[in-house]
């Protein structure tokens, strides 16, 4: 396990392996999303109560799941980067944040768009909505901190501390928000659906898997770009560039000298 982490943690190894995996994952993602969208938008029935607007669910719910999943993954990989000093983990954490923030944003937007026809209001201070909003703030804080540091190493370490503190707080925030809302407002606009018909469940699950893979694809692509950028002074990247263009196109380590 340890060896494996170190082997996979080497940027060069990662670059080569991910290059081979990427097309397959991308293909699977496209396939799943196309199938999911078809099933969701055309093959599945409209809800008897919500009518066609229910179809927003096939975007909304998978992004909501992703938004939380990515935060945990980001915090975990930031912690790994901090504790074992693995550059690749730092990159994964850094690259995940904007993706996670985007999914959170999509959740909020689709939720609002859905809320207008369903509840007659764009926004309601419901527990789940509120905690999703706070999650967006956590993401934004992480991104802001990351971009505020010049030195990448320091940026990674500082934001790792934040991500860990945030991850410890996420459950606390979640439960306190739940508490707060049920305390003040007995009449609940529950977002959950206890029973869901299989004709809607299947497309939903397919879309959820598709969105997870979409995250993986974006993650791999952005991580690869980031790896190239950070390792641009290393021999293997230089060779790669030379193979591509035929000459060294990337500044050398001592360009100031």
């Amino acid at each position: 396990m340890w060896l494996w982490i170190h082997k996979f943690g080497s940027p060069k190894y990662f670059y080569n392996v991910s290059g081979k995996i990427l097309p397959w994952v991308a293909g699977a993602t496209a396939l799943l999303i196309v199938i999911g969208l078809y099933l969701g938008l055309f093959a599945s029935p409209a809800d008897y109560q919500q009518r066609e607007t229910v179809r927003i669910m096939y975007i909304h719910v998978p992004s909501a799941w992703n938004s939380m999943f990515i935060y945990l993954l980001m915090a975990a990989s930031a912690a790994i980067g901090l504790i074992w000093n693995i550059k690749l983990a730092d990159i994964v954490a850094a690259v995940s944040a904007p993706i996670g923030a985007s999914f959170t944003f999509i959740t909020l937007v689709t939720g609002s768009l859905w809320g207008k026809p369903m509840w007659g209001t764009w926004w309601e201070w419901d527990a789940r909505l509120t905690s999703e909003l706070i999650l967006l703030f956590l993401y934004l804080g992480y991104i802001a901190l990351q971009s505020a540091f010049e030195d990448r190493r320091l940026a990674a370490r500082a934001s790792a501390v934040l991500a860990i503190v945030g991850a410890v707080n996420v459950p606390i925030i979640y439960y306190s928000v739940q508490w707060w809302n049920t305390l003040h407002q007995p009449q609940s606009l529950g977002v959950g659906m206890s029973t869901i018909h299989p004709s809607m469940l299947w497309p939903l699950l397919i879309m959820a898997l598709g969105f997870k893979l979409l995250y993986v694809v974006i993650l791999l692509m952005r991580t690869r770009a980031e790896v190239l950028e950070r390792e641009r002074n290393n021999a293997w990247v230089q060779e790669l560039a030379q193979a591509l263009v035929g000459k060294s196109v990337i500044g050398s380590a001592n360009e100031y000298r």
Binding site: E150, E255, Y256, R257
Partner: protein, 239 residues
């Protein structure tokens, strides 16, 4: 452990440079040639309860260099800030071309360059941007471009890095480059040699020499010996 090699980017070609023309500054308008342009009479400065100096007279004409010397805490910085109009003396007046500097502040500032303990280089901007802004705000421009000025002070290659990451001495050099881009008649430099290496010290001396030869004036506070040749040095000893 100890390695020796000349650092190519820092070889400073100031001596051989032809970029800054040795043209004279426009001759002083008021007061006529030879008359002192900066005068101060009977200056006194009190800080807290201590009288730092009193009855001090200053007069500086074209081509003159005034060295303000004195031990730590003797009032050099206080004097220079008063002469720039940044602080008020507790007695006495400072005149530029016969006019009180408090009254004709804008005309005075157009011909003045001040370099204090804190040199006002923005860490978030690149040296080049720092100079461009200084240029856009300055009184009269000398025609030396920011790039040329940075080259002169030995910062070729650092033009576009944020100034924040520069070392103490490099940031000081950016501030010095400001002196080159503006056509200021009077330089007021508070310990300009701080943080500079021996190359840097020579650079400042060269800059001063050239400035004075063109008919400029300079007020310099320092604890170092200033090796400039063929100029009128006035020493002002504070104690």
């Amino acid at each position: 452990m100890s390695r020796n090699a000349a650092h190519p980017a820092r070889v400073n070609p100031m001596g051989a440079s032809v970029r800054q023309s040795p043209r004279e500054y426009d001759s002083l308008v008021a007061g006529g040639e030879g008359q002192p342009a900066l005068t101060a009479e009977n200056l006194a400065c009190e800080r807290g309860d201590r009288l730092l100096f009193s009855g001090l007279n200053v007069s500086l004409g074209a081509g003159n260099l005034m060295l303000v010397e004195g031990p730590n805490g003797s009032g050099k910085t206080s004097l220079l800030r008063i002469l720039c109009g940044l602080a008020q003396p507790s007695a006495g007046v400072v005149r530029w071309r016969g006019e009180e500097v408090g009254r004709s502040r804008e005309r005075y500032c157009a011909e003045l360059m001040y370099l204090g303990h804190n040199h006002g280089v923005k860490g978030d901007l690149s040296p080049c941007e720092n100079l461009q802004i200084a240029c856009a705000l300055a009184g009269v421009k000398s025609g030396v471009t920011p790039e040329e000025a940075l080259y002169e002070v030995g910062l070729a290659g650092f033009e576009d890095a944020p100034a924040r990451i520069l070392s103490a001495g490099q940031r000081r050099r950016v501030a010095l480059a400001r002196l080159l881009t503006a056509e200021a008649r009077l330089w007021v430099l508070d310990e300009p040699f701080t943080a500079l290496d021996t190359d840097g010290v020579m650079l400042v001396e060269k800059m001063l020499e050239r400035h004075l030869a063109r008919g400029g004036m300079a007020l310099v506070s320092t604890h170092h010996e200033v090796r400039v040749t063929e100029v009128n040095i006035i020493r002002l000893e504070l104690y």
